[in-house]
């Protein structure tokens, strides 16, 4: 996978362990990294799905697959301790899901048309 890795998510918890405190700037920067990664992967996934000729439901399955791979890689990058970088699982798993869908569909259509209905 083309490693679209920014300079690492920055840890954001302050020194407390039981009292959850968040450094807002770091959290925002982490969210931006997640967003960029998802957008990039959805574009690449769209092109791949188009070139391989997936149609209909299979294409959306590819999209979900690509998002899942992105989530796994982000989790691995955060060293599997999500709670010291984000405040909930939902953020890293679900955040850019729908936003990436439109870009995915656009590039999927584009690649599919160029390659198959040429």
């Amino acid at each position: 996978m083309a490693g679209h890795d920014d300079s690492g998510a920055s840890g954001k918890k302050s020194s407390e362990n039981e009292v959850p405190t968040f450094n807002v700037e770091n959290m925002q920067s982490n969210m931006k990294v997640v967003y960029y990664s998802r957008t990039f992967m959805s574009i690449i996934g769209g092109v791949i799905a188009g070139i391989l000729g997936f149609t209909g439901l299979m294409g959306f399955v590819v999209y979900v697959l690509v998002m899942a791979i992105t989530s796994v890689c982000l989790t691995a990058k955060a060293g599997f301790s999500i709670h010291s970088y984000f405040d909930s699982w939902n953020r890293v798993l679900m955040d850019g899901f729908l936003g990436g869908l439109l870009s995915f569909v656009l590039f999927w259509t584009f690649a599919y048309d160029i390659v198959h209905i040429f």
């Binding site: 039981e18 405190t21 957008t39 870009s103 569909v105 209905i117």
Partner: protein
């Protein structure tokens, strides 16, 4: 009944790719133009002061548990006191920022400029697409849609038996419009003025900010339950040290 239409190669070369390229270029152009046209707007001192007060109140609310109860109460009263608390806005003044925003010539001009810079390229491109690229099948979307979308997606094509997957160039324009937002956010730095809804929200929140969010912060401060966590910190420090030393 999947009739595979064979579409002319020229359509690919002269419709899809130019349309996408033009939309990307127009987006980039609009970004730079908006950056150039962003007149240095002298910020109003009063609004900034109120904004800073809100930020301070918010910090107090977020970190309330780290200061002793008495200190927290003193600070809370400083903000929410009915007579001279910082967050208490007299009723008559609440409407002012809104009216002021609309009658202030500078701000109105700015808003109009930003609106225009969004709407004009979109309208022009849409008209251009309709004029040049109508009346033929432009692309095939790879997933099937129901018959109800036919009128929306196939506006120039007057055959009713063509598969709904074959769309006209107008729908290609809309697809590009929504799909290129992600691309713009990648190549142009951060999320910029290509997203209508976000910009609209930002615009509408600007003038109402002082009056309403002051009241909201005051209510938030009133609600906070103060629970001082520092007494427990000795145990926590002990636990951390134990872990370190063992």
């Amino acid at each position: 009944m999947a009739e595979e239409l064979v579409l002319d190669t020229a359509i690919r070369d002269w419709v899809l790719i130019p349309l996408s390229v033009v939309m990307v270029l127009i987006g980039v152009l609009r970004y730079f133009v908006s950056k150039l046209m962003r007149t240095s707007q002298l910020p109003d001192a009063k609004i900034i002061k109120e904004g800073q007060v809100i930020i301070r109140a918010r910090n107090l609310r977020a970190a309330a548990n780290f200061i002793p109860a008495k200190a927290f109460r003193a600070r809370k009263l400083y903000y929410t006191n009915e007579d001279n608390g910082l967050l208490h806005v007299p009723k008559g003044q609440a409407q002012n920022p809104q009216a002021q925003m609309f009658s202030d010539p500078n701000m109105a001009m700015d808003m109009m400029k930003k609106n225009l810079s969004m709407i004009i390229p979109q309208t022009l491109t849409f008209a251009w697409v309709n004029f040049f690229f109508s009346g033929f099948v432009a692309a095939k979307i790879p997933f099937p849609l129901t018959q109800r979308f036919r009128s929306m997606l196939q506006n120039g094509i007057d055959l009713s038996t063509v598969d709904v997957s074959y769309v006209s160039s107008r729908s290609w324009y809309f697809l590009n419009l929504f799909g290129l937002r992600g691309l713009f956010s990648l190549i142009l730095g951060e999320e910029n003025a290509t997203d209508d809804t976000q910009r609209m929200m930002q615009m509408s929140g600007f003038g109402f900010d002082p009056s309403k969010s002051l009241g909201a912060e005051k209510d938030g401060l009133d609600i906070v339950q103060h629970e001082w966590v520092l007494p427990k910190f000795e145990q926590r420090a002990e636990a951390v040290l134990r872990k370190r030393l063992s």
